[in-house]
């Protein structure tokens, strides 16, 4: 019996995307999908998992929605929705096929959902939260951790965003060509957050959540096909591919986490690296640098190094300087400090860390883990242990916790 939660993660976004098109309402679609999963949780343990779980969920959710609308069709609009459901046999909306050249993409409910979630009428934080919720199938606590904000804040953002889209009759379609560039940036940011959520899952016993990352890469590919002349879309795809290339080396055979410096680089996926490098070079030729392209260039520098010691840290620090100038945020500053620690030694790295505004990083696990590592290299045993304790306290990922506990043990007893 496969884990129902895993199936939910994998299928919820796809099912919800289709159900929104069929039902014409986000809330109804979410409720219907949740109801279908509840039925699955009852039936599958005894009757077995159907061969196409996603298809089963989508069909069940649709049928349940029709039943419910019939029962509750006291309100005219709901009644109309029920009638529409019977007419619409889940075929793509024909009017969307008029968009020449985008037919393949428009046929993709998930892309439609990305553009809905990232509608410019929503604030950026609401766009990302909604994308992760509806498309990524994440729940509110997971999204809160990805954002570094309290859960009620995220819950309220999602509720308000859905209500605004509904009250405003936001269309469920891919924007017209003329509007696409403006709407792209928020979409890229949302897809990247989905990727990072898949790269290091905030919960669950496996360090990575492969399907979510694959989903993000797939959406990244679709976007670069849709907008081949948009360097940031290409940059995002390159960044995801170059990060993904390291996945086989990120976990040891026993499932434990391996740091970049300790990874067996022969296990990196050369095909993904080659593809990523090609994309980064194409971006450089266009010479319109943006945050995703620079992050891809940083990943490309790592991929170029045959060993950790051979890494060109001066180039990485220079790229982080450029990135920080464009996006002065605490997480980029943290990564820059780590790179400085590699280039000029642990003391210089700690100086760079200590100059940051820690109020934003206080609850951010990677900050404490990075600090612990620098402190260990600087030979400050007690401070190292305290920093690992804080990092362990903050991680919700069991694999990550085991790694941090091992690091803490080594720091406490170096023999």
């Amino acid at each position: 019996m496969p884990d129902l939660a895993d199936i939910f993660r994998r299928e919820a976004g796809r099912c919800t995307a289709t159900l929104i098109r069929v039902l014409g309402d986000i809330e109804l679609a979410e409720d219907a999908v949740a109801e279908a999963f509840a039925i699955a949780a009852e039936q599958w343990p005894t009757q077995g998992v159907p061969p196409n779980p996603g298809g089963w969920i989508t069909t069940t959710a649709r049928n349940r929605a029709i039943d419910r609308l019939r029962r509750e069709s006291t309100r005219t609009d709901r009644h109309l929705a029920a009638l529409r459901l019977e007419a619409d046999d889940m075929e793509p909306n024909p009017e969307l096929d008029d968009l020449d050249g985008f037919v393949d993409v428009v046929a993709d409910d998930q892309l439609r959902l990305v553009f809905l979630c990232c509608h410019p009428a929503l604030a950026a934080d609401a766009q990302v939260a909604l994308t992760l919720r509806l498309l990524g199938g994440l729940d509110t606590p997971e999204i809160a951790r990805a954002f570094l904000v309290p859960e009620p804040t995220v819950a309220q953002r999602i509720v308000r965003a859905k209500r605004k889209l509904r009250d405003n009759h936001a269309p469920y379609s891919v924007p017209r060509a003329a509007e696409l560039p403006d709407r792209l940036h928020a979409v890229l940011a949302a897809i990247y957050l989905i990727y990072t959520e898949g790269h290091t899952a905030t919960t669950g016993d496996s360090l990575t959540r492969v399907d979510l990352s694959r989903e993000a890469i797939r959406l990244g590919r679709v976007l670069t096909e849709l907008m081949p002349d948009e360097p940031e879309a290409v940059g995002l795809l390159a960044l995801m591919l170059l990060t993904e290339a390291r996945r086989p080396a990120r976990t040891a055979t026993d499932g434990s986490m391996v740091r970049l410096a300790d990874q067996d680089r022969t296990r990196w996926d050369r095909m993904l690296i080659t593809e990523g490098h090609t994309l980064v070079r194409a971006c450089l030729r266009r010479n319109h640098p943006g945050p995703f392209q620079i992050q891809a260039a940083i990943a490309a520098v790592h991929a170029d190094a045959a060993t950790a010691a051979a890494t060109d840290w001066s180039q990485i620090v220079a790229l982080y300087d450029q990135l920080y100038a464009m996006r002065p945020n605490a997480v980029i500053a943290l990564n820059r400090a780590v790179a400085i620690g590699e280039l000029r030694g642990a003391a210089a790295g700690l100086d760079a860390l200590d100059s940051l505004d820690v109020t934003l990083l206080e609850d951010y696990q990677p900050y404490h883990a990075a600090r612990a590592d620098l402190l260990a290299r600087a030979g400050r045993r007690d401070a190292t242990i305290a920093a690992y304790d804080r990092a362990i306290e903050l991680t919700a990922n069991p694999t990550e916790r085991r790694f941090l506990e091992q690091q803490r043990k080594t720091a406490a007893d170096p023999t």
Partner: protein, 115 residues
């Protein structure tokens, strides 16, 4: 078809506009052109320019008593100066009209769906 209120906002204090000022003449001409375009497209429902906020009166009925106070409801710098009500297929279509409206009257436009 969904209806939207497109309200025109003034973010500086304004009184009765100087109708002879070139800026005002240009804005009024463009606004009239846009309204005509909305009518041709079947989107137009209502349009009005508002007199100054100082011409407003606020009426409150409470417990059988009705009180009246002089001036706009909110004593803020930002005041609504005019409005369109339009019909549009969806939010994106309404936002397209709002972009044209903002260009025409050279002011920010707030887009709000009706119930």
């Amino acid at each position: 078809m969904p209806r939207y209120l497109l309200s025109v906002w003034f973010d500086e204090h304004y009184d009765e506009p100087d109708l002879d000022a070139p800026d005002v003449q240009r804005q009024m001409a463009r606004t009239a052109e846009l309204t005509a375009e909305m009518e041709r497209a079947g989107a137009w429902v209502f349009v009005a320019g508002l007199r100054s906020p100082s011409s407003a009166t606020v009426v409150r009925a409470a417990g059988g008593d009705v009180s009246m106070t002089d001036g706009p409801y909110a004593e803020t710098k930002e005041q609504m100066g005019g409005l369109w009500v339009i019909e549009a297929a969806d939010l994106d279509a309404a936002l397209d009209w709002a972009a044209k409206a903002s260009t025409a009257c050279e002011r920010p436009i707030e887009v709000r769906p009706t119930g």
